[in-house]
């Protein structure tokens, strides 16, 4: 079983407090929705193995607390992440406007600039939307992210969000190869020129 796991990917979930990060994760890993989900303290951690296009990947997912006060603590966990899920709550505009701060934070603390970002607008099952899909799409395009709307409660879009993200990471070999496989980049060009006379032939 373990042998055919392609690689372990580190995924990060960030966003304002209460947008449903932990709920999304629980939906993804255990396919349940727990209305009794407590506010996260520090970081939480879950593992799930998924198969995308026949590639198996083990996901180590770090769920961070959105709480202002924990912010000083959580960025430490950004290190080495290959993918990040930014979550906002479609029924609370301010959770969307705060996304810029989260992106800044990512930029500052993330150790790799090629990580794959996915924007998730959560809680679409609710009625009082303050955000429409187009706004989310626009923001995602502007920052070269994947985008999806989802509901942890009804499971809409949740599986898909994680799968898309993983697929994208796997398509970006620089993101995972350097770790598990030693396929480095050739630094020097192979010396050309052989044959009896070589390419460069001068008189003296």
């Amino acid at each position: 079983m373990e042998e055919d796991i392609l690689t372990t990917l580190k995924i990060l979930i960030i966003g304002e407090s209460g947008v449903g990060k932990s709920s999304l994760l629980l939906r993804f890993t255990d396919d349940t929705f727990d209305p009794e989900q407590a506010a996260t303290i520090g970081v939480d951690f879950k593992v799930k193995t998924i198969s995308v296009d026949g590639n198996k990947a083990k996901l180590a997912i770090w769920d961070t607390a959105g709480q202002e006060r924990f912010r000083t603590l959580t960025p430490s966990y950004y290190r080495g992440a290959q993918g990040v899920i930014l979550v906002y709550d479609v029924t609370r505009r301010e959770t969307f406007t705060k996304l810029d701060n989260w992106l800044n934070e990512l930029e500052t603390y993330c150790t790799r600039n090629d990580l794959v970002k996915m924007l998730v607008g959560n809680k679409i099952d609710k009625e009082n939307h303050e955000m429409d899909r187009a706004e989310g799409l626009k923001f995602a395009r502007k920052h070269s992210m994947l985008f999806i709307e989802a509901s942890a409660k009804t499971r809409d879009g949740v599986q898909c969000a994680f799968e898309e993200l993983v697929e994208k990471i796997i398509q970006t070999p620089g993101l995972w190869q350097s770790e598990s496989h030693g396929r480095g980049v050739q630094l020097t060009d192979e010396d050309a020129g052989n044959g009896s006379c070589g390419g460069y032939c001068s008189l003296v």
């Binding site: 989900q37 951690f45 879950k46 603590l73 430490s76 770790e179 008189l203």
Partner: protein, 986 residues
Amino acid sequence: MAADSDPETEVFEITDFTTASEWERFVSRIEEVLNDWKLIGNSSDRLPIEKGEYTRSTWEEKSQEINFADFKFYITHYVLVQDQQTEDVKDNVEEDAFPVAMQDLLCMNNDFPPRAHCLVRWYGLREFVVVSPGANCEAIISESKCNLLHSSVSIALANSGCQVPLFVQVQQKWRKMFAGECQGPGVRTDFEMVHLKKAPSQYNHLSGLLDIFKSKIGCCLSPLPPVNIAIRFTYVLQDWQQYSWPQQPPDFDTLLGSEVGGVEFGKLPFGACEEPISELHLATTWPNLTEGIVVDNEVYSDLDPLQAPHWSVRVRTAENPQCLLGDLLTEFLRLCSRKESTEEVLGRRLGEDEGKENADISSALSRLTEPAAAVPISKLSVSNMVHSARKHIRRHKRNDESPLSADVLNSVLLYLFPDAAVEKSPDSKNKTANTNSSGKSEQEKQSDHNIFLQLKSAPSDSLTYRLALCVCLINYSHGGLRAVAHLWQEFVLELRYRWENNYLVYGLTGGPPDLRCCLLHQKLQMLNCCIERKRARDETRKAQDGNKDRERKVSGSTNNSGSHECPTLTPAASSTTKEVSPGKSWDSWSDSEDEFFECLSDQGEAEAPQPEGEKEVNKSKAEGRLHPYNNMTLLHSAEPLYVPVTQEPAPMTEDLLEEQSEVLAKLGTSAEGTHLRARMQSACLLSDMESFKAANPGCVLEDFVRWYSPRDYVEEEEVDEKGNTVVKGSLSPRMKIPGNMWVEAWETARVVPARRQRRLFDDTKEAEKVLHFLAVQKPADLTRHLLPCIIHAAILKLKDEEVVEDIPTVRKSIQQATSQASKLFSPFNQDHKKLEDFISQLISMEIAITRARSLKAKFAVSEGEKAEDAAELENFVSSLLEEPEVVVLGAGQGPAGSIIHRLFVSAQRAALLSPLDEDFGNDRKQTGGSNKVPDFPPPAGREILLRTCVPRPAPYSKALPQRLFCVLMKEEFRLAGAFSLDTAFF
């Protein structure tokens, strides 16, 4: 044929009599390959070759293995890729036109190409095929074998109708001996070659060679059609005379002379120690002469290089000139593989011989810390730092000489810790150095910044970066491994000194460790965090001492009751938490030390401004208030809601973080694991709750949540019985869950202000951990830590140097190298070989820059010369760097030409007349005659190309191209002839 006599093939023939002989198979193999490569048929439909096309266009080469019995050959096809296709001229093709190779023999557009296969140079061919012995096979030397091979290709050509010339390589490879043939309709060209070590004297000049050519053609026409002549003489200049390499290797000793103020430790040395341009080759060419116009025989020659209509130059570069930066990097990398520990290097074992006192580690530790006692805290200067260091070293190594002299050590420490030189008040030391990069553009800064990120090094003005430069230089020029170990020991000692005396470490950005930097940098930042916290505590304590008398009565009682234990996962505790079982209570995750955030006794809050007119009761109870929060009041009283003074969370370095996330991850993914994880991370929450309670007497959890997590306090408008809308607030559903951790923590939290809580971050313990970590790093470890910084510094250095010279190719390779660099230090596969390769790339850039520098010095515009000359010279130099051969505009009369001429003249004088006592510049013309020193040395090589078109073998045959290329050098005489003959009317 030969197969009969060959014992090896006999064996083969016994096993298979039915097949053709090996030789026949070989011939048909060649034909097959020619067919596969589509080299069959008329070749005359090609475009004429443009001037210089052989150099401009690319050459294609494909190769295949073929066997003669079990003897391996390679058959290789070389062809010029022509810009234009052949279509448009197809109509004019005559059926029986000469093969294109024959036309090429006479074409004058590409004589003496700077870069080409030798067969191209000798015969002017644009396409040909060569059969040569395989890589590990012996050469074809015996005459019978040569003939056999030659006849094989001849038959293959005839059988296949291929018009591409086909050569076989015979004799030893280095001799470059080829024999070949080209066949066309009713015509044939034989390619023959003579190769001798010395030119026979009768052929050592143009007239002798013309004689050979004519006799070889054997033409009986009279008068003979004129022979076209192209001549090229090549002169080699090795002795640069007064233009000797201007860069002297820096004298490291004088750099460190004690009188000289600043030591150049911040600068990496750069440049070659020896001339990177070893030779200049001047080719003087007479491209188009006719027989009779020039005289060149045994006694006289018209061929004066100065008068040649065409000059071109190439430079030969020294192969591996010693370069300072490169050497430095190589030596540094070498340190990485040393195994010795600092103590082994510095000979701690000598100390052990002394016996007793070393048995006890704690006494060793106290000795390490001794400078704290020895040096008055108010004064921190290099001299007393060095003094204390000296004492320390002396103690351990009695008779042994210190690897670093006091002077050098002093300078290095001064460079590393410049704040020690100036006596500053402790407060001003807080400011970090921000010295350089003022004159740079935004864009440059950005790209420099990218290097830093990609390499994961450290900011270029940081202590870490400077340490890297020092270690590198110390290793290179002040004693290698031993000196590095010594410096490192002193460095760690200095850090300990600073820790013990509350001096911040200079040159580090404040705040928690920057995870984008190398680990060593993070560790130093961590130490600074510790010092900062300790200082803050000590300062408050000092202030406290002043008030002590007044406050004494209160202090005794609170000190003990304030001791409160809480679950925690500070890095310090992480190792113990690993063994914790989920069932334990809140209190079990603490260590037993009674350490407080601020070791204070009770005191009125000085820093929190208290609103006027507050009730006496509240004022006395509330503690640790920071400021009121958004004009809110507590839910159950009219008191304003205060933000409390809180403890800062523990700073973390990446290794601690790794450790912690491992611990957290190990708890598993069950609900229980999640719960436990939350609990382990709740130290900060609990501490904040306690501070909040202390600052807000009479508060409830709702109050706390309104400050701490406002979204979890839901306010809804409700209509009461009287019909009024009132705003009613309550905790969010998730906060209301019975027994959730927030509620649980709130209930556990006592009323304790931050300063009386147990420290979340044990700076003493962490500082000791950092210092221990540093102390046990071996020199090789240190080197590995610093490698990113050194590579970073080297790239910056190369960039700076390149900007001065402006060499586009180097600029490009620096960019490429930078983007590749990020892969070098991936923690998962640190590959020594890759690092070596990378460093040799950097070295080659250094060499390229040095070459540019050398050429610029040699072709510098002297005073009084015109501006356009300067521009021309500049172009000339940059072409020399990028192109294999550069035309000298105006030949011997142009600006570059006259400089080259001068270079040769002075080299000649130095060689033939010593010493040179007159200024040749003034009266060159006159003295040139009287001294009889020729301006140029004898040519190192002469190439003479003779061409004509005459009927062969009979006067009534077709007139066909004939060509002889002669090479005359000191150790080589070669005649490469191509003689065509009419095979139809023979």
